[in-house]
Symmetry: C2
Subunit: 162 residues, 2 copies
DNA sequence: ATAATCATTCTATATTTACAGAAAAACGCC
DNA sequence: GGCGTTTTTCTGTAAATATAGAATGATTAT
């Protein structure tokens, strides 16, 4: 059973977590979700219970609850349990996270779908040059998306060998 | 000088622009910016002046002004002028837009930077498995980022030949 | 079975962001 | 250079989102 060693505040760690939080906000995470990511990334041991997280981030229970649920849904976070201790110990799960990153990366061709729709809509237009410009963007997105798909396949082959 | 033919409202077009707007919101654009993109994508001729945009979207001048400036800054939009007419005619510029998409795509390796920082921070930790998980995510991001870079180079070669 | 505590949900508040309208500025034709 | 029009900036308001706190629900060790 892990010992919830009463962590004395560590300003350096706090600053680092804030900094990581901001970095994750830039990737599209909401502030609290971003900070929880930051905290779990630096956590040592790399699993922490609900109240450790709450206390470190000085946030409310609902905020932490929502953040953890979001991140668990996202796949980046899961938890451990230890018998004789009903708490859950939350941690980043790099394996699931990686799985998820792959999925997301594959979904990158989103704009292609939109633009194909637009081109169909513009089929009557006489402004051919404009349409050709759009066509080229579609082709680019397609090119990239296909390439990424291929690369992910390669990555997975590589993994099998390891 | 283009004739600002008084456009009678076209419900079908309006619905289509809304729909595109929502699609662009999902890509991270704010609602008005997203609608302006949608409108310019379907515009025929593919350039429209400030008031045509404003009227079509039933928005305020400031909203349209901000949206256009944002999109021009982004590179997706620029404008034409015609002598004897001081209005600016805004349009999507697929060439610049494509340029920009390439840039963004290249910037996809952002998370790598964050995680490298984290790993350095965790160098003392004895939870090696966790660190190895992070390391693998870095490698994946790196693999993808490098691959994309290569593909963009290929794309540009292809373009030169066309 | 129950008491203790872990976790979620609900509701209220604060913060942020988007948008409008008015006023000011910039621009380009005459 | 003056004047009318286009465009931006400023300021206030509305809407959306994030977070807090309280109440409720769920779990398990005893």
């Amino acid at each position: 059973m892990p010992d919830p060693e009463k962590t004395t505040p560590n300003p350096r760690l706090q600053a680092k977590v804030e900094q990581l939080g901001i970095a994750f906000e830039r990737l599209g995470y909401s502030p609290m979700n971003a900070r929880v990511m930051g905290f779990l990334l630096l956590a040592d041991p790399p699993y922490k219970d609900f109240y450790e997280i709450r206390d470190f981030l000085s946030a409310s229970k609902s905020s932490i609850s929502n953040a953890l649920n979001y991140l668990m849904n996202e796949g980046a976070v899961d938890y451990l349990t230890f018998s004789g201790d009903r708490r859950r110990y939350f941690r980043l799960n790099p394996d699931n996270w990686l799985q998820n990153l792959k999925q997301q990366t594959l979904r990158m061709g989103q704009m292609r779908v939109i633009l194909e729709d637009v081109l169909e809509e513009r089929s009557e237009s006489e402004y051919l040059e404009f349409n050709e410009g759009l066509q080229e963007i579609i082709e680019f997105q397609d090119f990239i998306a296909k390439g990424i798909e291929l690369m992910i396949r390669k990555w997975e082959e590589r993994e099998d060998k390891v």
